[in-house]
């Protein structure tokens, strides 16, 4: 229980901390310390187990399918890192209390800091690789927010994004690597993975997995060539730099190498990839650090260099080197965190971090200066300080490295060179800041010592540097042992934590480094001049321009493809359909099936010819829009005739009535549209479209031919047999519509209703200016309502209504039905609108079409739901034959009520749609009465 507690308490704290923001910085700092204190207390009891190389486990199921569990695992290595995170974290909290200004969003800062802390603890305490990855990416995210804490600064935003891109991207690689490892091992549990080192290393995918994991580690730990993000992350407030970029987050990559050391290390690939990366990073970081005028920039590059050192140590692959690496992790964390804090104090007190301005601070803040000088000495590797010890171990290990090809001299040389640079930049940090004349143009002058408590964290860390440096075995021995044991996954080689191992080669290297470093610093101007000959690359600007370039490229690429051309999208759709259909169709041998062709019936053939002629004429003459519509009407008419010719009276009637309404609709619309379509597409484009059209048409011809000539049997026999006994009607099509497949019809009238309501809504606020006359220059006539039309339309109404009743009532048994009847009624009313106008007609129709639609749908639904009462499913119909005197025997069918719903919906929808368009007319007096919403 205590392990998850350690990880999750900071997150709880992050939620709670901002609540204390009202109480001021002190309150919130205290509140923020609580999780760490509890965590420390919770870890303490495990020390006995860990010191002996044991591990503590706590596991809870989460997502077994994924192999993801809430698995926590504490061993020496985890403990070491947890302590670093918790203890330095506490110091940072204290430090930040004074660093931040009261006006800043302190609550957010502490919340983020705690989130980060929790994530970091999560990484080190995870017993499951996937869980670790989750925390890993969380540190990327929280550090993104912390770096950009001052997000009004452009540099902060850019630095943050760069850090996120690099570390988050590396995290994705790590994810892939971990998944591969999980694939190989069959588990993500750390225990299993660590035990399966041989399996992993002998697997074919090991190089891939290793590369991916190392990509994750290298990006996080700012290894060359991914190191560039770290210096720019220094835009963060100093407590963040001190915490994340010296002690914790950047160590996550190193931690990962240590953690997976037993599983991945010990192969040639590991050796070459890790050690050479480390070597390059070590040198480059150290070299650049020398030339940074920014105090934090210097520290950042030095951090890069030290991370390279640790990486190099892990890469060497010897057990002693690994121990040295772990040791240096501790040492670097202590001296670098204190240096960052010192830098923050200086920044805080002088208002700048530029070493060309900051000079001679010894006079103003001797206390701080002393602390910083001790820490810097440790960084330089001065004896009696902790940095010296691990550096000596490093030098010693570098001598052990037997590179093939006579390159054995390379590691010691690199180590010494890096040592020289380290001494030089440490010297610069001390001399250039605290001595070297007088301050130049400090924004805050005179600087003085910071608040007392701001120095305490630095003091504690510096004290640790000294303690470890002077009494290593006593102060850090047990912890280092436990951590090393855990790292190596077994016995730790003999090593001796003493101040001095006697006069040996490593010591000589140290001496050389000191002499060389001091010499270099004294001759710094020459080096600066030399360095100044190279143009300095601003990685942030490069990153930013790369991103902009990428974004721009993506934008242009997208814009070129997704260019807003309906025709292109339609073309793609047509091409897709043709492509997928052609593949199977092209394998068909013959397109005339077993049944063969039936003899030609000449009148039908001529009608077909008329249709084909008019369709083609429509396509050719589509620019003359009115003519196109006339031709289109002929096509529609012939289609209706075809339905009649081939045994579908209901369809013929439906097609005819729809045709009429469609013509009116198109005429209504054409009024507002240009009467002529201009020439726009190029000849090539027309040719392309023609080819597509011909292929599509040819394909459909062949498909139809193949289909029509194949024998066929369908489920329809059932409908023919059950229409009368089961559905109570002899018009099978109608019975299918209102009964067998009544649910389709319900959907269909819903579509109609929605379309009408949508049209109404869409046109409500639309204003269209119609042309003043037709395309040929004739102004419109004033005669809106011709006398004859008006007079003849009126007697048409009752007659047409009667016809519609007739067609409605017979529908169940003979061709007809609600839909057609509805259209007849609609057309009868439309004639009135055309003949006598909106106002006149609307006055005489006392209903709202919305309500007619609603009523229609309601009738259909209620008719369908009536069967619920009898325990039958929705739309179960019932019918009976009733005998009344005089009237005689007649049929009553519930399906008729359903059909009535269809009838009403059709009327409401058709009229609502047409009237909505009619209302657009500037002559229309009806301007949507109560329409102001």
């Amino acid at each position: 229980m205590s392990l998850p507690l350690v990880v999750f308490l900071p997150f709880l704290g992050a939620i709670a901390a901002p609540l204390f923001a009202q109480g001021g910085r002190t309150a919130i700092a205290i509140a923020s310390s609580v999780p760490a204190l509890i965590a420390l207390a919770a870890l303490f009891p495990h020390w006995e187990t860990l010191a002996g190389g044991g591990t503590v486990l706590a596991s809870y199921e989460w997502l077994p399918a994924l192999g993801l569990s809430f698995s926590f695992r504490l061993d020496g290595l985890a403990l070491l890192f947890a302590l670093l995170i918790l203890l330095i974290g506490l110091l940072i909290i204290l430090y930040a209390r004074y660093y931040l200004k009261p006006a800043e969003n302190v609550g957010k800062f502490y919340a983020l800091l705690l989130c980060f802390k929790g994530s970091m603890l999560g990484i080190v305490l995870s017993g499951n690789l996937l869980l670790m990855l989750i925390f890993w990416e969380l540190t990327s995210l929280t550090s993104f927010l912390l770096i950009s804490f001052w997000n009004h600064k452009q540099d902060a935003r850019r630095g943050a994004r760069m850090a996120l891109a690099v570390t988050g991207g590396g995290g994705l690689a790590l994810l892939a690597g971990i998944l591969l490892i999980g694939n190989i091992v069959g588990s993500y549990e750390l225990d299993d993975v660590l035990a399966a080192g041989d399996l992993i290393k002998s697997h074919a995918l090991y190089p891939v997995a290793l590369t991916l994991v190392l990509l994750g580690a290298f990006t996080k730990s700012a290894q060359f060539p991914f190191h560039f993000w770290l210096p720019h992350a220094m835009q963060a407030p100093t407590p963040v730099s001190a915490y994340l970029h010296s002690a914790t987050m950047v160590k996550a990559g190193v931690f990962l190498m240590a953690r997976l050391y037993p599983a991945l290390a010990g192969t040639e690939q590991w050796f070459y990839m890790v050690s050479f990366t480390g070597m390059a990073t070590l040198l480059i970081g150290a070299y650049v650090a020398m030339f940074k005028h920014d105090l934090k920039g210097l520290l950042a590059h030095s951090t890069v260099s030290h991370l390279g050192l640790i990486t190099l140590l892990f890469g060497m692959g010897t057990k002693l080197a690994a121990v040295a690496a772990v040791f240096h992790v501790i040492n670097h964390a202590t001296f670098k965190a204190s240096l960052f804090m010192a830098a923050g104090i200086i920044d805080h007190e002088t208002g700048t971090r530029d070493m060309r301005q900051i000079n001679g601070l010894w006079r103003y803040m001797p206390h701080t200066a002393t602390l910083a000088m001790v820490a810097a000495s440790s960084m330089a590797g001065v004896p009696l300080l902790n940095g010296f010890l691990s550096k000596e171990m490093f030098f010693a290990e570098s001598l052990q490295l037997n590179l093939p090809g006579g390159l054995a001299w390379l590691p010691p040389l690199v180590a010494t060179l890096a040592g020289i640079f380290a001494v030089a930049y440490s010297a610069r940090f001390v001399h250039d800041v605290f001595f070297n004349g007088k301050p130049v143009n400090l924004p805050i002058y005179p600087p003085h010592e910071p608040p007392r408590y701001m120095k305490i964290p630095v003091e504690i860390l510096v004290f640790a540097c000294i303690m470890v440096g002077m009494f290593p075995a006593f102060s850090i021995g047990p912890l280092l042992y436990a951590a090393s044991y855990a790292t190596l996954g077994g016995e730790v080689p003999d090593y001796h934590l003493t101040i001095l191992h006697g006069i040996n080669l490593p010591l000589m290297m140290s001496v050389a480094a000191f002499v060389g470093g001091l010499l270099m610093y004294s001759q710094r101007q020459k080096f600066f001049d030399f360095h100044a000959r190279f143009r300095e690359i601003d990685e942030k600007a490069v990153f930013e321009s790369v991103v902009s370039w990428l974004v721009d490229l993506a934008h242009r690429f997208t814009g070129a493809i997704e260019n807003g051309s309906l025709q292109r999208y339609a073309m793609l759709l047509v091409v897709s359909v043709i492509a997928v259909a052609l593949v199977p169709l092209s394998t068909m041998g013959v397109f005339v099936g077993e049944n063969g062709l039936s003899p030609v019936d000449w009148p039908t053939a001529i009608a077909a010819g008329v249709l084909i002629l008019c369709a083609i004429a429509t396509a050719i003459g589509h620019r003359e829009r009115f003519i196109a519509l006339v031709l289109l009407s002929v096509v529609g008419l012939v289609v209706a005739l075809a339905f009649a010719r081939f045994s579908a009276p209901d369809l013929a009637m439906t097609q005819l009535s729809v045709e009429v309404v469609t013509i009116v609709l198109l005429m209504l619309a054409l009024y507002y549209m240009p009467s002529w379509t201009p020439h726009e597409s190029t000849g090539g484009r027309r040719l392309r479209d023609l080819v597509l059209a011909l292929v599509a048409g040819g394909g459909m011809t062949l498909v139809t031919l193949a289909m029509l000539t194949q024998p066929f049997s369908s489920i329809s026999q059932f409908f023919l047999e059950n229409s009368k006994p089961g559905g109570g009607g002899t018009n099978v099509v109608n019975v299918i519509l209102v009964d067998f497949r009544g649910f389709d019809t319900l959907g269909e009238i819903t579509v109609l209703a929605i379309a009408a309501l949508g049209i109404y809504a869409m046109l409500k606020d639309t204003a269209l200016t119609p042309p003043p006359g037709d395309g040929q220059g004739h102004p419109w006539t004033r005669d809106a309502h011709p006398l004859m039309l008006k007079q003849i339309a009126r007697p048409m109404l009752p007659l047409a209504l009667m016809v519609s009743v007739y067609i409605f009532l017979r529908g169940h048994n003979l061709p007809g039905g609600g839909f057609i009847a509805g259209l007849v009624t609609s057309v009868a009313l439309i004639i009135q609108y055309i003949a006598s106008g909106m106002t006149w007609t609307q006055d005489r129709i006392p209903v709202k079409y919305h309500n007619v639609i609603g009523l229609g749908l309601l009738f259909a639904t209620v008719a369908g739901a009536g069967s619920f009462a009898f325990g039958y499913p929705f739309l179960t119909s019932t019918f009976d034959y009733i005998s009344w005197p005089v009237v005689g025997k007649f049929e009553v069918a519930s399906a008729l009520i359903f059909d009535l719903g269809v009838y009403l919906t059709v009327i409401g929808a058709t009229l609502l749609a047409l009237v909505s368009i009619g209302r657009l007319s500037p002559h229309s007096a009806i301007k949507s009465p109560r329409e102001k919403s």
Partner: protein
Amino acid sequence: MNPFAEYLIAALLLLGGAFSLIGALGLARLPDFFTRLHGPTKATTLGVGAIVVSSVLYFSSLGEGIGISEILITVFLFLTAPVSANMLAKAAMHIGVKTTDDTRGNPWEQ
């Protein structure tokens, strides 16, 4: 079937077909829009009337009861054909469709 009815039906059918054809001929070959308007309004309408009547007779003589509902077709046609003609004539006058040179009098414009 009664031979008289048979002849009558056949005659009506042929009459109807002939009128439809003549109406169409008129539409095809008369010189201007207004003269062409006469074909469909009269000949074609009557042609359909004749065919419909023959249909009535045919189904009645088959003993399927008196199917007079077809008569409604003719009624509606007679009701609507003049309106169509009127509307089209008005449209043609509005547009200023050319009349044949032989035409006396002028279409007016309101």
